[in-house]
């Protein structure tokens, strides 16, 4: 872990070192740009960058001002740079979550600007933080993005940084093959492009990785090269580390003298660097060497030094580990909160989408329902209106036919009255007053019945037959010859509840008497039968008169057909309004005539 932190610090330092200049001159530059513009922002950020390690608090103030100016002037690049600077300062403060926050803000701001260098630096810094927090997969992910951009930009230094850092992560993950691959690639690039400063560190890291993988010879070679080049390129951290690591290898091989020499060299450099860590490491190696050489007083001394420096390092380490743990915890908490918030937002958004979808569907369904309702109510309305019209039409038709019927019935009356008056006149001329009087009063009574009944559209069959009977009785009084009559009703017919149009058969009975029977010398006979056939009733009127042909000779032309014509007209109307096949048929018998009238059977109840 110590190696890892070394590397990361190194990376930040490299990053921070970009555009390094003396603080005073930078401060001068800021003062040269008092107006709040992009020049001042650039100067402020450079100043803050230079002060990151020496005075982070003041650096933060400069960065805040830069951010404020950038945001108010809507200068996106300045905003992004300010965020990055703040992130760097928080990193130095070891406030990793805050640093990460600002890096991410910066990244968001930088992405649309398409300044790849800016993206690259932010991605690297983010990756370093994840690496610190031991979230290696995320760290690798960011390093790879950083690597891609570096290659795209052709920046060998950035590419090297990415590869070295990835190598360190792979070493931590115990994947030496990948780690070595990364180191070798980085080394190749540095050599090709002459980025010499990094070479000792890469060689040192390679050595550590080789040693960890059990390849001590390769490790020693690597360290040797690192030490040589460290002198040439003035990289003393790398030198101290490599010297001590070499000493450790000799110690395990039992070459205590060499081990002691390397440890002392390392200690010397560590003292120059004032690095507690390197001194601690060197003293540890030395104490182990002295112990093996049985120089116990020196060993004890070295051990005491080792413990001293270790404690200071481990205190530092412990502190930083604790801080890191807390940070990791905070970070996770924050991340969880962010995730929860994100989830909540997403859920809310989803709910909103669902709600809107529901509303849309609701509206659609409403429209469809409305349309359907409108359509169906229109159809219903139309159907109802049509039915109403049909009913009205039927009513009108019925009324018209009723009126026609009434006219016909009323036409019946005078026809009947005049015929009857003929009978009365005939009777009076042949009889004495008393019987003539009797006849007349009977006639009046019948007339009253006829008038009453002709008011009605329909009367019961019983009433109709009673009237016909009265008529026959009256007429038979008049005739010289007796008239026998019989009326038979089918048992399937109830005369009291069967309705018929009044006096339909009267003209036929009249014809039978006047034309059929009056010409006869022997007693006449009229038979009226009413039978039922399905939904029809049949009147059958038979007489034993002289027959139609013979009667035609006596009768005056046309008169005979008067009552008949009216009856036929009435039946016609019945056919029209009731859609039945009512009708009249006349048959000539060997003696007399038979008339059949068919009417629809209509019941009263």
């Amino acid at each position: 872990m110590t190696k890892l932190s070394l590397l990361i610090l190194f990376i930040v330092q490299v990053f921070v070192c970009i555009g390094q200049a003396p603080i005073d001159s930078l401060l001068q530059k800021v003062r040269q740009h008092p107006s709040r513009d992009s020049n001042r922002v650039t100067a402020l950020l450079k100043l803050a960058d230079a002060m990151v390690y020496t005075d982070p608090a003041t650096a933060m103030r400069y960065a805040d001002e830069a951010l404020d100016i950038s945001e108010k002037s809507y200068w996106a690049k300045g905003t992004a740079l300010s965020f990055r600077q703040k992130g760097n300062i928080y990193y130095v403060f070891s406030d990793l979550p805050a640093a990460m926050d600002y890096y991410i803000k910066g990244l968001k701001e930088a992405r649309p600007l398409n300044i790849r260098e800016l993206d690259a630096s932010l991605l690297n810094n983010l990756a370093n933080i994840y690496s610190d927090l031991k979230q290696y997969d995320k760290a690798l992910d960011y390093y790879r993005q950083f690597l891609d951009i570096s290659r795209e930009l052709g920046s060998g230094k950035d590419e090297t940084i990415a590869l070295v850092n990835m190598g360190t992560v792979y070493t931590e993950l115990n994947e030496p093959k990948k780690a070595l691959e990364c180191g070798r690639q980085g080394l190749g690039i540095c050599r090709k492009k002459g980025i010499n400063y990094f070479i000792p560190i890469i060689l040192n890291n390679l050595g550590i990785t080789y040693n960890k993988a059990g390849d001590a010879d390769s490790a020693l070679a690597s360290f040797r090269e690192s030490i040589e080049l460290a002198d040439r390129y003035s990289n003393y951290d790398a030198k101290a580390s490599s010297l001590n690591e070499t000493g450790k290898i000799y110690l395990t091989r039992g070459d205590y003298a060499s081990a002691g020499q390397y440890a002392l060299k390392s200690l010397q450099i560590a003292r120059q660097l004032h690095s507690a860590e390197w001194q601690s490491n060197a003293w540890e190696s030395l104490y182990k060497v002295y112990e093996k050489q049985h120089r116990y007083d020196k060993a004890l001394d070295a051990y005491q030094q080792f413990i001293l420096f270790r404690d200071s390092v481990s205190n530092e380490d412990k502190r930083s580990a604790l801080a890191r743990k807390e940070m990791a915890f905070d970070f996770e908490k924050k991340e969880a909160a962010t995730r929860a918030e994100h989830d909540k937002k997403e859920a809310l958004a989803q709910a909103e989408i669902n709600r809107q979808r529901l509303i849309k569907r609701g509206i659609l369904a409403g429209v469809v329902i409305l349309l359907l309702a409108g359509l169906s109510s229109f159809v219903l309305y139309k159907r109802r209106r049509d039915a109403e019209e049909r009913r009205k039409e039927a009513d009108l038709k019925a009324k018209v036919s009723d009126t026609e019927m009434k006219v016909l019935r009323l036409q019946m009356n005078p026809h009947f009255i005049f015929n009857s008056l003929n009978s009365v006149s005939d009777y009076i001329s042949k009889h004495e007053t008393t019987t003539a009087n009797y006849f007349l009063s009977k006639f009046a009574k019948m007339m009253r019945q006829v008038l009453e009944n002709s008011e009605k559209r329909e009367i019961t069959l019983a009433e109709d037959l009673r009237l016909v009977e009265t008529y026959i009785q009256l007429e038979s009084l008049r005739l010289r010859n007796e008239v026998n009559y019989e009326i038979c009703i089918d048992p399937g017919i109830d005369p009291d509840s069967t309705l018929v149009p009044p006096l339909i058969i009267q003209p036929f009975v009249e014809n039978s008497i006047w034309h059929g029977l009056s010409g006869k010398t022997c007693p006449g006979r009229i038979s009226i039968r009413i039978i039922r056939e399905d939904e029809m009733i049949h009147y059958i009127v038979e007489d034993n008169g002289i027959g139609r042909k013979e009667a035609g000779k006596y009768a005056a032309a046309g008169r005979q057909s008067m009552g008949l014509r009216i009856t036929l007209d009435r039946i016609d109307i019945i056919n029209q309004t009731r859609r039945v096949r009512a009708g009249v048929e006349i048959f000539d018998l060997s003696e007399g005539t038979r008339v059949e009238v068919r009417l629809p059977l209509e019941l009263n109840y």
Partner: protein, 250 residues
């Protein structure tokens, strides 16, 4: 032998009726006199004290009922003789009082005279006349009361108290709003003829109902009606449409 007088404003009617009586029931009735005005008629009745009066309804400007008003107690029988006067005929029918229509049919005359022989209580006759006058006083409108010959005697009822009539072949049961039930030896058809102008309607072969006493109509093939006395009366299929039409008119 019954002494009778004829009151009629037309002499040929008097002559005709006199002739008919002589020819068809001369053995039972003797025409003692006649009058051609109400005044003369009243005098003749007072003088001749007949047992029977043939009374025309329309006598000049007066009516036969004006004559009867002059007698607080009637100790003679009356046979009304009238031409075609619809409202009066309805009144007679409702009061169960005999009447003859002009020109008089000899057979009807004989029957009317024969019915006189069946002695009736004065009380009953008085009741009949009371009903007649009650109905007539209400003018030429519809009669309000009906006299019904039950097995126990005559009942006089306001028409609106009848809820419905039910046929039992030759008998008819009449259900009243008071909850009573009368049984009459008349066919339902006769009641139908009397009452159909009084908003009564025959909904079924055996039911005649007062349309004013319907509570509700229940749908069905023919359906049924609930009456105010909580009975449910079946409506025949053929009557349904007509009934609904009638109800809609109410």
């Amino acid at each position: 032998m019954i002494d009778a007088i004829i009151i009629d404003d037309e002499s040929h009617c008097i002559d005709h009726l006199t002739g008919l009586v002589a020819a068809w029931c001369g053995s039972m009735v003797r025409i003692a006199g006649s009058a051609r005005t109400i005044e003369d008629g009243w005098r003749s009745i007072v003088q001749l004290q007949p047992q029977l009066v043939f009374l025309d309804i329309q006598v000049k400007d007066e009516t036969g009922f004006d004559l009867l008003d002059r007698f607080p107690v009637m100790d003679f029988d009356i046979i009304f003789v009238t031409a075609y006067e619809k409202y009066a005929i309805q009144a007679f029918k409702f009061s169960a009082i005999d009447y003859l229509l002009k020109p008089v049919d000899p057979d009807d005359l004989r029957q009317a005279v024969a019915r006189l022989q069946q002695k009736r209580s004065k009380e009953e006759t008085a009741k009949k006349f009371e009903t007649l006058f009650y109905n007539l006083k209400n003018g030429p409108g519809l009669p309000r009361r009906i006299s019904i010959p039950t097995v126990k005697g005559l009942e006089f009822l306001p028409v609106h108290e009848i809820i419905r009539c039910e046929s039992h072949i030759n008998y008819t049961s009449i259900f009243l709003s008071s909850g009573h039930k009368l049984t009459v030896a008349k066919t339902l058809k006769e009641f139908e003829e009397l009452l159909s102008e009084h908003n009564f309607y025959r909904v079924h072969n055996s039911h005649l109902i007062n349309l004013a006493c319907i509570k509700s109509y229940n749908r069905g093939k023919g359906g049924s009606v609930s009456m105010t006395d909580n009975t449910e009366i079946e409506v025949s299929t053929r009557r349904k449409d007509d009934l609904l039409k009638r109800l809609a008119e109410l």
